[in-house]
Amino acid sequence: MKTIQELEEIRKRTLDKVNQRKDRTTTRIVVGMATCGIAAGARPVLLAIMEEVEKLGLTDVVVAQTGCIGLCKMEPIVEVIKPGEEKVTYVKMDAEKARRIVREHIKDGNVVEEYTMHVIQGKILNDYKVEKE
């Protein structure tokens, strides 16, 4: 059974980590969390991102939430903002896709093209194949 005292140990362990994080430029991962996002399954996405960040030991990353991004049919939406780079918007996320983004984009720096939002002739499409044709 977990006791609240265990937090003491976490405190000792994480003290250095927190200090480190403040000194660097951080990557922000933002998940849309309005009614639309939540109903579409944003919570497991958020949790998966958090777990993957922890698993990979990434320290210069902040996981944050926002309200309705204004594109409800594409929810769950995840935005990745790396310092000095253009914002990347991922649409129709699920927990597995989110984990892949953390591994490949956040950790290794390769944008996962197939999950990003695509605008074709003024219409937003998320079907990667359409763009290829």
Binding site: L7, I10, T14, M33, A34, R43, E51, G70
Partner: protein, 182 residues
């Protein structure tokens, strides 16, 4: 919404948008009276009286991206379906309180679901404090983010390590108070 915990999360997101700094979440399961009560209280900016009258109308919203707001109306319809009700009390500059009741054993009542996931996603917001109290008949579990911050000696508890610990902590304690039924 498939789980009550998702409704709760949705309502709390409203509180956060209303600049609340402290959110209180009370869940009471009384199986002898067959009532499940969910109360969400915040110290946000409150709702104007005029708006409060029709607050569960899907066409009443403060959002600017479009003219529909489904959060409270969806939650209300869930309550009504389970022979319960949803009430919203609010005062401008004081805060808002949402009280939802349902028949505990109603066949249409969604499960509470992963309440720990909801709590953790709320605590990811660095400026929000959360008091979460869950009672099942005579057993009680309380989690207060202010206490966690005090023990950690830090205002920042949004690191994954701490949050994942909180998640497991809630899970274990809920199992305890509900007699292993979670």
């Amino acid at each position: 919404m498939r789980e009550l915990s998702l409704h709760i999360m949705d309502i709390i997101e409203n509180s956060i948008s209303a600049n609340a700094t402290l959110i209180e979440l009370y869940i009471e399961e009384d199986t002898s009276k067959n009532i499940l009560t969910i109360k969400i209280k915040d110290n946000g900016k409150g709702i104007e009286e005029e708006m409060l009258k029709n607050i569960t109308d899907p066409f009443v919203t403060s959002r600017t991206t479009r003219r529909v707001g489904l959060g409270l109306s969806l939650f209300e319809s869930t309550c009504l379906r389970c022979n319960g009700s949803l009430k919203v009390y609010s005062m401008v500059n004081v805060g808002t309180e949402v009280v939802a009741t349902m028949e505990h054993n109603n066949i249409d009542r969604p499960p509470l679901g992963r309440i720990e996931d909801t709590v953790v996603s709320v605590l990811l917001n660095p400026k929000i404090d959360l008091l979460y109290q869950h009672t099942v008949n005579d057993k009680k579990f309380v989690l207060d983010s202010r206490e966690i911050k005090r023990i950690l000696g830090s205002e920042d508890i949004s690191s994954p390590e701490v949050l994942l610990w909180i998640k497991e902590y809630i899970k274990e304690n809920l199992k305890e108070i509900s007699g292993g039924a979670f």
